[in-house]
């Protein structure tokens, strides 16, 4: 039990700390790394409450794809250093406006959470029959490939289409690419590849390259 509490507080503190560092860090690349750390900590928290599927998906999708994409974008756009100042001359930078928006969102969250009322006839999780012996992923797999196989296949077709589309819209044939042909290389002989030429003094020879 103590170990459980220890891990919970450890991952929670890591999550909050790295979330703070995402916005506090001056170097944008570092921010993205902290974002990844944040995702990993939250993923671990999910695994701790027994939702191992969501935790793993968080790792695969957010860390594996989204955060790495962010990293590429940040590196390509060359916005490594952020200037942190409240005002440049008389113009406000993004810090005051960001604080304002943050404050507004915080107030809205207060209103939402404060005014939250559960609907009395809402299906509560205790009425669901959960088989403790089978893991989440196993449960999902049981229905995903049987009853819901059509959705699964259709999602696959959509991904296939996205792939075809990306290739069509970006692929272009290059003409001046040098490719290797083993047959050509093997079948070369002396007569087709070597020429003897009389080199004139002070002129040189023109060799086509």
């Amino acid at each position: 039990m103590i170990a459980h509490a220890f891990f919970f507080y450890f991952f929670s503190i890591m999550a909050i700390f790295s979330a703070l560092m995402v916005i506090a860090s001056r170097n944008t690349v570092n921010s993205v790394f902290f974002l990844i750390l944040d995702f990993i900590s939250v993923g671990c928290l999910f695994i701790m409450v027994g939702a191992e599927f969501i935790g793993m998906i968080l790792l695969i999708v957010y860390v594996g794809a989204v955060a790495v994409l962010f990293l590429f974008v940040v590196m390509m756009l060359n916005v490594a250093q952020q200037k942190q100042s409240w005002f440049i001359g008389k113009k406000a930078t993004h810090i005051p406006s960001g604080l304002l928006v943050g404050l507004l969102i915080f107030l809205e969250l207060l209103v939402v959470v404060g005014g939250w009322q559960y609907k009395d006839n809402l299906m509560s999780s205790s009425t669901l029959i959960i088989n403790e012996q089978i893991s989440n992923t196993h449960q999902l797999g049981n229905v995903l490939y049987t009853e819901y196989f059509l959705y699964f296949q259709l999602s696959g077709i959509i991904l296939l289409l996205a792939m075809i589309g990306a290739i069509i819209l970006t692929f272009r044939k290059r003409d001046n690419v040098k490719t290797q042909s083993y047959l050509k290389q093997i079948s070369r002989d002396r007569s087709s590849s070597v020429i003897l030429e009389e080199v004139k003094f002070n002129k040189g020879v023109k060799v086509d390259d």
Binding site: E147, F149, L150, I157, L161, I164, L169
Partner: protein, 468 residues
């Protein structure tokens, strides 16, 4: 054991798409082969649809196959077949004849199939995404043309936004009714459930965007103008059928008990679309932009049928949609023939006085644009006639009056083009075209529009029976 026969058309279509993709990858310059094979797979899919015409629900009742879905699937495959068929020449000339082109169109058709036979919010959304993702790619298919790229980006951003709204509505609906299944939603929905009514508005916004109804039409003229004409004709016909059928299914199944709430929204959207479609098209000089505004106006009339909330209203909108598809196929075939010195032109002024040396093209323009304007005895008149009949039956006289007035206004710009063709001086000479596919589609479209009045009951009785 699941009876997979019910979903056989979709399975067949996907398997043929996968096969075509493999052929395209391993065979060089296989555009023509793949195009012909995709005709075959569409025809095969059509036959499989004919095989099961009863009402069946499978996979936890998420997939429904009923007469409505079967009819709309056949309409979708037929119109897609003709769009592909008539645009062959254009695609070759414009140098966008990559083998992926028919494959992506088929994938979008697959998405539409799932849209029209979904009985569940998740399946509906997945079908919609498959459909619109293909449309984004198709809009920017001519990527070297800056306008095409622009239209792709514009459509992508706006459509993603509307998909987000729709998804928000879906999640709200799930939260307030406790199910994603249409039947279960219908049973637990009543007008006292304010949250669900709120969700209905979001879903309507998303659907109205997909069928480009005012006030969610902003993307239409730019995308229609920028995309290659073959894609524009696809945009103008096929996704609209799927969007309309999905809308009818939403209104008829999950939202049936809150008719008063959605009716007023649909009436507003319908009136706004009719007015904007009639007024904004007057000043257009580009024929593709004109067709965009014209399609917005037609969607207004179609929604007037949906707004009645009765079976006869839904049938009249489906009849309108079928005739609209035929008219637009013809209109875009005419646009393919607007070719000057080997270049495709889009300005209406290029049509000036072509009746002298291209009498057949001129008479086709006359038939199709008269039909679009709703002049008897052509097909377009009957389409409007049935819609207004069902609107008047439901005692919505204001809607009918506005519809009739906007019909008169919109007749102005259709007739203006006819006037340009027949009475203006002949300044330009369009190239002769011997393309069998374009002329054949044009002939078929004109033939159906002219002879529709002989036996209108063929289509009518078929569609009225869909709603039992």
């Amino acid at each position: 054991m699941i009876n997979l026969n019910i979903i056989a058309p979709e399975i067949f279509l996907f398997l043929s798409i996968a096969t075509l993709l493999m052929i395209g990858v391993f065979k060089q310059n296989s555009y023509s082969l793949i195009l012909n094979l995709s005709f075959l797979s569409l025809i095969g899919t059509g036959f499989l649809i004919f095989l099961n015409f009863g009402v069946n629900e499978i996979l936890l009742e998420s997939f429904i196959s009923d007469p409505l879905s079967s009819f709309s699937k056949i309409l979708i495959s037929l119109s897609c077949l003709f769009v592909l068929f008539s645009s062959q020449r254009f695609v070759k000339d414009k140098n966008i004849s990559k083998f992926e082109y028919p494959i992506i169109i088929l994938l979008s058709v697959l998405g539409m199939f799932f849209m029209v036979s979904s009985n569940d919010l998740i399946l509906f959304y997945l079908g919609l995404e498959l459909q619109s993702l293909s449309l984004y790619i198709l809009a920017s298919f001519d990527r070297k043309n800056i306008k095409s790229a622009e239209s792709g980006i514009k459509y992508f951003v706006l459509s993603a936004l509307s998909s987000g709204l729709l998804l928000y509505g879906c999640s709200l609906l799930y939260g307030f009714t406790g199910s994603t299944n249409f039947e279960l939603i219908k049973n637990s929905l009543n007008s006292g459930n304010i949250g669900a009514v709120f969700a209905m508005v979001f879903i309507l916004v998303g659907l109205a965007f997909k069928i480009s109804a005012v006030p969610f039409h902003m993307w239409t003229p730019d995308v229609y103008e920028g995309a290659p004409t073959s894609i524009t004709s696809f945009f103008a016909i096929v996704p609209k059928v799927a969007g309309l059928v999905a809308l009818i299914r939403f209104m008829d199944s999950p939202f049936k008990n809150i008719l008063e709430e959605w009716q007023i929204i649909i009436i507003f959207i319908s009136v706004a679309s009719m007015i904007l479609g009639a007024v904004a098209a007057i000043g257009q000089k580009n024929i593709k932009r004109l067709m965009a505004y014209s399609s917005i106006g037609h969607i207004g009339y179609i929604l007037a049928g949906v707004a009645t909330g009765t079976n006869s209203g839904y049938s009249s909108s489906l009849i309108y949609m079928s005739i609209y598809a035929v008219m637009n196929l013809g209109a875009f075939s005419c646009i393919y023939l607007m070719k000057k010195n080997g270049e495709y032109v889009e300005e209406i002024s290029n049509l000036s006085g072509i009746s002298k040396d291209r009498p057949v093209l001129a008479i086709s323009f006359l038939i199709i644009f008269f039909s679009l304007a709703g002049i008897p005895p052509l097909g377009g008149f009957f389409a409007k006639f049935y819609v207004f009949m069902s609107v008047i039956e439901s005692k919505m006289y204001v809607l009918a009056t506005i519809g009739l007035l906007t019909t008169v206004i919109s007749a102005f710009y259709y007739l203006k083009i006819i006037k340009t063709i027949y009475f203006d001086g002949n300044k330009f000479k369009l190239d002769d075209s011997k393309s069998l596919s374009v002329n054949g589609t044009l002939f078929m479209s004109c033939f159906i529009l002219i002879t529709f009045f002989l036996y209108p009951s063929i289509l009518n009785s078929l569609i009225y029976n869909l709603f039992g």
